[in-house]
C-alpha cells in the first residue's frame, strides 16, 4: 500500500506548516463569522491536520463540536478554501480524543465495549479514546461491532476471511481489487467493515472511504445536478482505501457506471486498495458494462457460501456469549437446523428466542421455538424450490413431457414453456445462470438471459402470459 506511506510523509510536511496554515484559515474565518461566535467557538481551536484533501480541527468540548458542525461548516469550508487553498469538508474533533491509539488498546476497547452487551454504554469512566475511536468509525459509516474478532470463520468463509485479513494488514497488495460475493446476510459487509476498522486502527488518519454503491450513485447524481463534479471526483479519487458495498446496485445506471469506471481506474493506478461486495459474481450483474466486469475480475474474487451446520451452531454460541444468554443445547441445535440460508436471519431467530427466554425462562421448549420462528422458517423454505420442481410444474401446466425441458427441439409450443421454466428458475432459486443452463440440457447462460428477457417482455405485453407465470409461481410457492 504505497498510498499510505506517501500520505504519511505529506502529512508530516503539512504538520510543520500547520501553525501557519491555521493562522491564515483563522483570519479568513474571523471575517465570515461574528466576533462573538469566533471567540466563543474557535478561540482555542487548533488545526490538527491539513493536507490536500483533509482538514481536521480540534476543539475543546463536545458542545463546541456540535455547535460548529451544525452552524459554522459553510464558513469553515470557505475559510479553508480561501485561506489555505484546501478544498475539503473539514472534520471537527474534540481535542484529547483524536490521539493515535496503539492497536492493542483499540482491540481492548472494542472487546470491553462488546462485553457490555449490544447496547453501547458510554459512561464517564470509559476512556475518551475508546469513544473517539468509535466516533471515528461511525463517521466513516462503520459499525464498530463488525470486526475480525466477531466473525466466525468456517469452511464456507475461510478463503474470503484470509484474503480480507491479508488486505487489512496490508499484505495483500496483489489482491486488488478484492471482490467479495455471496448471498444476502452471509457476512460480506461484516468482512469489509472489519478490513476498514483494521486499516483505521493501524493508521487513524488514513482516508478510508466506506460506502454503498447506492450512496455513490446518489452523490454522483447530486454532484451532476449541482454541477460540482470536480469536488466529487476529488473526494473519491484521493482515498487511501475505497470500500464499496452492494456494487450490483450500479446495474443499469450507465452514467454512474461511467464515472465509477474512471474513479476505479484512477484509484487502481495509484495502487489504492479497493474492496467491492456484490450479491452475485461480477459476470452475472445484469446490464453491467463489460469493461467494468473485467476490471472487477482483475484482482482477487472470493465467495462467501452459506455456513454449514457446525458453523451455524458456532455462530449461535458466539452470539449467546456476546449477549450473555443461555439456552438449552437442543434448542440451539434446533435453531441451527431450521435456519440454513443466512446468518443475519440466524441472528434474528436467536434474538427472538433469547428475548423470549429472558422474559419467561420457564416456558422454553422446542415447540415454543417453532412457534416463535414460524414466519422465518416459512421464508426459509421458499428458497428451497428446485429447478426440477419448476420443470415438473411447467410441464404439467402446458401438457408436455419432462424431456422437452432438456431437449433441443424448438417449436414454439415447447420452446416458450421452456423459457418460462428458465425464467422461473432464475426468479425462484438461487442458482447461477450457468447452473440453470446446465439443468436445461446444458444450455449456455446466454440462452437463460435471453429467456428471462423474453418472458419479462411478454409478461408486460400479454396479460395471458402474465397470468400463467403468476399462477405457476403461486402454485410452486404453495407446494413447499
Amino acid at each position: 500500500m504505497e498510498g499510505y506511506y506517501n500520505a504519511r510523509e505529506e502529512e508530516h510536511e503539512a504538520n510543520k506548516s500547520a501553525g501557519e496554515t491555521w493562522g491564515k484559515i483563522r483570519s479568513k474565518l474571523s471575517e465570515y463569522i461574528s466576533a462573538d461566535a469566533f471567540s466563543r467557538w474557535f478561540k482555542n481551536a487548533d488545526l490538527i491536520n491539513a493536507d490536500e484533501q483533509d482538514g481536521i480541527v480540534g476543539v475543546q468540548s463536545d458542545m463546541h463540536q456540535i455547535w460548529i458542525e451544525t452552524n459554522y461548516m459553510d464558513e469553515l469550508r470557505a475559510a479553508f478554501a480561501e485561506g489555505a487553498g484546501i478544498h475539503c469538508s473539514p472534520r471537527i474533533v474534540v481535542k484529547g480524543e483524536e490521539i493515535e491509539l496503539p492497536e492493542e488498546e483499540v482491540k481492548q476497547a472494542a472487546r470491553k465495549a462488546r462485553a457490555g452487551g449490544q447496547v453501547k454504554v458510554v459512561t464517564p469512566d470509559t476512556s475518551a479514546k475508546e469513544v473517539a475511536f468509535e466516533r471515528r468509525l461511525k463517521r466513516v459509516g462503520i459499525n464498530p461491532e463488525l470486526d475480525f474478532e466477531s466473525f466466525v470463520v468456517g469452511d464456507n468463509s475461510q478463503f474470503a476471511h484470509a484474503a480480507c485479513s491479508a488486505v487489512a494488514h496490508q499484505e495483500g497488495r496483489n489482491f486488488n481489487p478484492l471482490f467479495i460475493h455471496g448471498g444476502a446476510g452471509l457476512g460480506k459487509t461484516h468482512l469489509m467493515s472489519a478490513v476498514a476498522q483494521q486499516l483505521l486502527s493501524g493508521n487513524p488518519k488514513a482516508k478510508v472511504v466506506f460506502l454503498t454503491a447506492e450512496h455513490f450513485a446518489n452523490e454522483f447524481i447530486e454532484a451532476v445536478r449541482k454541477g460540482n463534479l470536480d469536488a466529487f471526483r476529488k473526494a473519491y479519487r484521493h482515498a487511501d482505501a475505497m470500500l464499496i458495498d452492494d456494487i450490483q446496485f450500479l446495474a443499469g445506471k450507465e452514467r454512474t457506471q461511467d464515472e465509477f469506471f474512471h474513479t476505479f481506474n484512477s484509484l487502481l493506478n495509484s495502487q489504492t486498495q479497493l474492496i467491492l461486495t456484490c450479491d452475485c459474481p461480477a459476470s452475472e450483474i445484469q446490464t453491467l458494462e463489460p469493461r467494468l466486469i473485467s476490471r472487477f475480475e482483475s484482482g482477487l474474487t472470493v465467495e462467501l457460501q452459506p455456513p454449514g451446520f457446525e458453523i451455524r451452531v458456532a455462530i449461535l454460541r458466539r452470539k449467546m456469549e456476546q449477549w450473555k444468554v443461555e439456552l438449552d443445547n437442543n434448542i440451539v441445535v434446533h435453531i441451527a437446523n431450521q435456519i440454513k440460508s443466512n446468518v443475519r436471519r440466524l441472528e434474528g431467530a436467536l434474538t427472538r428466542v433469547a428475548s423470549y427466554s429472558f422474559l419467561s425462562p420457564d416456558n422454553m421448549s422446542i415447540e415454543k421455538v417453532d412457534e416463535l420462528l414460524g414466519d422465518l422458517v416459512r421464508d426459509e423454505n421458499t428458497n428451497l424450490i428446485t429447478v426440477e420442481q419448476i420443470q415438473k410444474m411447467v410441464v404439467d401446466y402446458y401438457g408436455l413431457n419432462l424431456s422437452d425441458m432438456t431437449s433441443r427441439r424448438r417449436p414454439a409450443r415447447i420452446a416458450f414453456p421452456r423459457q418460462i421454466a428458465m425464467y422461473l428458475s432464475r426468479q425462484l432459486t438461487k442458482l447461477s445462470l450457468v447452473d440453470i443452463g446446465e439443468v436445461f440440457g446444458k444450455r449456455d447462460h446466454g440462452t437463460i438471459i435471453h429467456a428471462c428477457k423474453k418472458v419479462k417482455a411478454d409478461m408486460e405485453s400479454s396479460s395471458e402470459v402474465r397470468a400463467s407465470v403468476e399462477k405457476l409461481t403461486a402454485s410452486l410457492e404453495r407446494q413447499i
Binding site: 463569522i33 461574528s34 462573538d36 461566535a37 466563543r40 468540548s61 463536545d62 458542545m63 463546541h64 456540535i66 455547535w67 458542525e69 451544525t70 452552524n71 454504554v121 458510554v122 459512561t123 464517564p124 461511525k138 434474538t351 427472538r352 428475548s355 423470549y356 422474559l359 419467561s360 420457564d362 416456558n363
Partner: protein, 380 residues
Amino acid sequence: MVGADSYQARQGGNSMKFRIAKEAFLDGLQQVQHVVSSRTTLPILSNVLIEAGDEGLRLTTTDLDVGVSGTAKAEVSKPGATTLPVKRLVNIIRELPSAEIEVSVDNKNVASIKSGPSFFKIIGLPDGEFPPLASFDDAKEYKIPQAIFRNGLKKTSYAISTDETRYVLNGIFTSFKEGKLTLVATDGRRLAMVDHELEFPSSHEVDFIVPTKAVQELQRLLSTEGDLMLKLSDNQVCFEIGASIIVSKLIEGNYPNYRQVIPGESKERLTLSREQLLETTRRVSLLSSEKSNSVKLTFGQNQVDVMANSPDIGEANETLEVKYDGKQFSIAFNPEFLMAPLKNLEEDEVHLDLIDEMSPGVLRTEDAFLYVLMPMRVTG
C-alpha cells in the same frame, strides 16, 4: 406504589371477571396504549397487562425502554390477571354499542367481552410472560409540583434533537442542582432552558437525560394540579403521577455543557408582545422560500419590519410597533424555530436580546425561561 407491587405479585388463578363502564375502560387503555409500537419482535409487547384487584383495574404496557401503567375503575367479581393485544382491544371497546361492558377471562387467557347485544372473544397471553417494570426500592425521590414540570417540558421539548447520531441530545437534560430544577433541550441550532426553584436535600443533587419517548408520555399524563413523585435509580427513572406510573430507561452519556451556548452580554433588547410576534411571523412566513426558509427582522426607530420573500413567488412584509432606539440592523431566523417557543409560552411579553446580525438571538421571559436561536445568513 404499594398498590402496583401487590398487583404484580399476585400470581393467582388466571381466570378473572369484571364489569366496567365503556368510557372508563377506554380512557384507561388510551392512557397506556401509546408506548406500544406496532412493529415488535415479541408478541407480548403488543399486549396490555390487565390486573384486576379490589380497587379496580391496573393497566400496564411497555416497549422495554418505556413502561406506562394506569388504573381504571371497575367492579371486579373475580380478581386475576391476563394480557390482551392493546390496539385491537381499544378498537373493539371504542365500537361497543352499550355503555357497560362485562369482561371475563378463562384460564387459557381467552377473554370474552360482552356489551349489550355484541360479544367478542380475543386470545391473550399469560400475564407471567409480561416483563415487569423496574422497581425503585432504594431510589432517590423528588417531589415536584405537576404544573411546574408540565410547564417546563412544554417550554423545552420542541427543541429536542431528532438526529440519532447525537443520541445524548435525543432527550431532555434534567438537573437538580443548587436548589433548582433545570430542564434543557437543544438540537444544535437552538437551545431551550427552564429553571425553577425546588426544595430537595443537597445529597440529591444529580443530573440525567430523559429520552423523548418518556417525555411524550409525561406530557400526556401530567396535569396542572397536585405533585408528581420522581424516583431515580442508576439508569432508570420513574414518574408517579397520581395512580399512573411512567418508568423509563435514561439516555446514557454526558450531556454537553450547554452553558457555553448562551451568549454573554447583549447589545440590544426589545420587548415584544408574544402573540403579536407569533401571528406576524406566521403570516409573513407564508412567503418565505423553501430554499432559504427564513424571515428577516429589521429593527428601526420604534419599529420592527418582519419580511419574507421567495424569488419566484412574491414577498410579505409586516410592521410591528415596539419601543426601540438602538442601532438599525437586520437578522434572519428560521420561522418555525422562532415560532416554536412563542407557541409554547404563556406570558404576554417576551424579550429579545440581540448582539448583531450574525450572533444568536436570545428570547427570554420574566420567568426563568431562555431560548437561544442561531440566526440564518442574510442574503442581499
